[in-house]
């Protein structure tokens, strides 16, 4: 009962947030000037009458509040309008790219989370050992390394120099990428996934281990850990049952945030690997100022972030019984 009430309250609370963000984005874009003028600037053969027709078609002649309300009405019916380039419905474009981004991001987020736990714990337990120094060094370097640059290095080494892996795309075209001489759609997909997923995993890993190590160091100093040790509870049980549960909280927050933001794709990383995902689609849309598409992607991502935050908050209560959701 408490959970349902909490959920409803949080969902109602989201409404002004979503409205506010959509108004801000909408105003910014339409303050930029006439989107039709921008979109057709490179086309010398277009006439003013044709431009006028396009403005009428996209409803750009109405006052701004009317345009916004119409957008909102369509948004409530899950309709983001049509792209200014090619006229494809925004929904269709998003649904094409969404799954490729989700596939890439889910793999990397899960891997980064799973690998960081043993490294973070061991670094904290063996503080100031060679293991700790090594991984602390690697993780601060990893936090500082531009993710897209890591992708570039991977392409230079593994694609151009060694020729092991494909440098671009999510699927082999026109022919499949041979893995050990075997051409199979599944192997082809894996071969394309390896590099971008590894790059994103390494980037996430650097943040996660730093956070978990700091959390573990803090927790291991607490009195209740000493009490647990004094009562002869096995070290492994202390680490995983008593210490980790408290140290992992900031990591869960980060995980929740990164799932939301991951839907945005990493625009630069996707561009480097020519990954057919939302991030790269967004970069293209932004460089052409394709407003309906920009609006659509921004809103989808904002909603994803809000939902991820909500799930994070609920999972707090599941992990830590002291936190009550009411």
């Amino acid at each position: 009962m408490g959970l349902m009430k909490y959920l409803v309250r949080r969902l109602i609370y989201m409404i002004p947030l979503i409205l506010g963000i959509s108004i801000v984005v909408f105003m910014v874009m339409y303050a930029a000037g006439d989107p039709i003028q921008i979109a057709t600037a490179g086309n010398p053969s277009i006439t003013e009458a044709q431009r006028q027709f396009l403005r009428e078609y996209y409803g750009l002649n109405d006052p701004l509040p009317v345009q916004y309300l119409r957008w909102l009405d369509h948004f409530l019916h899950f309709d983001f309008g049509k792209s200014l380039y090619g006229g494809k419905p925004v929904n269709e474009i998003i649904s094409i790219y969404f799954w490729e981004t989700l596939k890439l991001q889910l793999v990397s987020i899960i891997l980064a989370f799973a690998i960081s736990i043993p490294i973070g714990i061991y670094s904290a337990v063996k503080q100031r050992s060679w293991f700790d120094y090594l991984f602390s060094g690697i993780s601060i370097a990893g936090v500082s390394f531009p993710v897209f640059f890591l992708g570039i290095i991977f392409i230079l080494v593994f694609s151009y120099q060694l020729g092991w892996l494909p440098s671009a795309g999510a699927h082999g075209a026109p022919q499949l990428w041979p893995v050990f001489g075997i051409q199979h759609p599944l192997l082809d997909e894996l071969a394309h996934l390896v590099m971008p997923a590894t790059v994103l995993t390494l980037a996430g890993l650097a943040y996660n281990t730093r956070l978990l190590r700091a959390g573990m160091l803090e927790v291991l100093r607490q009195d209740y850990i000493m009490a647990a040790r004094a009562s002869g509870i096995p070290e492994r049980r202390i680490l995983f049952k008593y210490a980790l549960k408290n140290a992992i909280m900031p990591l869960i927050t980060l995980l929740g945030m990164s799932i939301g933001f991951a839907i945005a794709g990493a625009p630069a990383t996707e561009t480097v690997f020519s990954w057919p995902g939302l991030g790269r689609a967004y970069v293209t849309a932004a460089s052409r100022l394709d407003f309906p598409l920009i609006m659509g992607i921004t809103m989808i991502i904002t909603i994803m972030i809000l939902v991820a935050n909500l799930i994070t908050d609920i999972s707090y209560a599941a992990i830590d019984p002291r936190i009550s959701i009411d």
Partner: protein
């Protein structure tokens, strides 16, 4: 009146003595922090390169970033050599020279973004934390909006719109030409870089507010503004310095991404812009791609190491 003036003098003297020794202690601790010192050293080197860039770079900066005249005499696409330490691009520009000239823009981005972002962070954090109630409510709702904004996406749209508006390329301020478009990117990045930190500062301020010395100042009749400026601010300064250093790191990183994606200032050659220009040809002239990338990496690393060092030095709790 006399008593008031006396109180102020005693107050400020005591504060100076205390803070001087506090900073001296922090500096002593920082000096023992090897990686922090290493970061500081790299930043100092970067600043020196930026100041003397026209003496250090063997070739002048491109007079017009759209044209590629400086070196185009059969020297295009050269691998690293004694003459061109980092090689030349496919367009015939010297990578080392452009990196050296680019330090100025990198520092401009780091410092400019951080100044603006920290101003917002500190003002929002302190007023929200100290004044509480209505002010806190309003400011925190605004902060939440900025926290859920997918900021990079909006930065790209802003940057692109500004590219198309195509203003005058440079402002001339006291004989220094300031790139207008890059300044806009600095402002946009800063506007999206304060929300998380403002929450941290708010938390600190809320804890400070309950301390005896603040209560004492209040009972002596000090106003809110006086307390916030003279008592709260000096006490959160260590935290502010750490956050500022880390903000510099992320500002450099974000500008590199924005420029690499082609949304940067068309009139300046930043490191990210160099990476964008060489990306298509990187299978042949890898040096033109890798050296700017390494420059970004080492700069961000330097700020991060310095930030870690300062944080350890100022926060005794983390020392053990």
């Amino acid at each position: 009146m006399v008593r008031l003036a006396l109180r102020d003098r005693v107050n400020s003297e005591a504060q100076e003595r205390r803070s001087a020794s506090q900073w001296a202690v922090a500096w002593r601790r920082f000096k023992k922090h090897k990686s922090g010192l290493f970061g500081l050293g790299m930043i100092v080197a970067l600043v020196l390169v930026a100041i003397f860039h026209s003496f250090i770079a063997p070739y002048p900066a491109r007079p017009d970033p759209g044209a590629f005249s400086p070196l185009y005499e059969g020297e295009a696409g050269q691998p690293p050599s004694w003459k061109h330490p980092f090689g030349t691009t496919i367009m015939g520009t010297d990578v080392f020279s452009e990196l050296v000239h680019g330090t100025v823009y990198t520092l401009y981005v780091a410092i400019g973004t951080t100044l603006i972002a920290m101003l917002i962070t500190v003002v929002v954090g302190i007023s929200s934390g100290y004044l509480g109630r209505k002010v806190d409510d309003v400011l925190m709702r605004i902060t939440e909006v900025f926290l859920v904004f997918p900021s990079l996406l909006l930065i790209l749209v802003f940057a692109r719109i500004y590219q198309l508006v195509n203003p005058e390329p440079f402002w001339n301020v006291l004989g220094i030409s300031i790139p207008v478009n890059l300044t806009m990117i600095v402002i946009i990045v800063a506007v999206f870089a304060w929300a998380g930190n403002a929450r941290v500062i708010r938390g600190e301020v809320m804890a400070l507010k309950e301390k005896e010395f603040i209560q004492a100042a209040k009972s002596l009749g000090a106003g809110s503004r006086w307390i916030m400026l003279r008592h709260i601010f000096p006490n959160i300064l260590p935290q502010v310095i750490v956050i500022a250093t880390l903000t510099m790191a992320s500002a450099v990183l974000i500008e590199a991404v924005v420029s690499f994606l082609g949304f940067g200032d068309p009139n300046t050659i930043t490191w990210g812009r160099m990476m964008e220009e060489s990306f298509q040809d990187m299978s042949t002239t890898w040096w033109a791609e890798v050296f700017p990338g390494l420059a970004v990496f080492f700069t961000v690393l330097a700020f991060n190491l310095m930030g870690d060092g300062i944080s350890d030095a100022l926060n005794p709790r983390l020392r053990e």
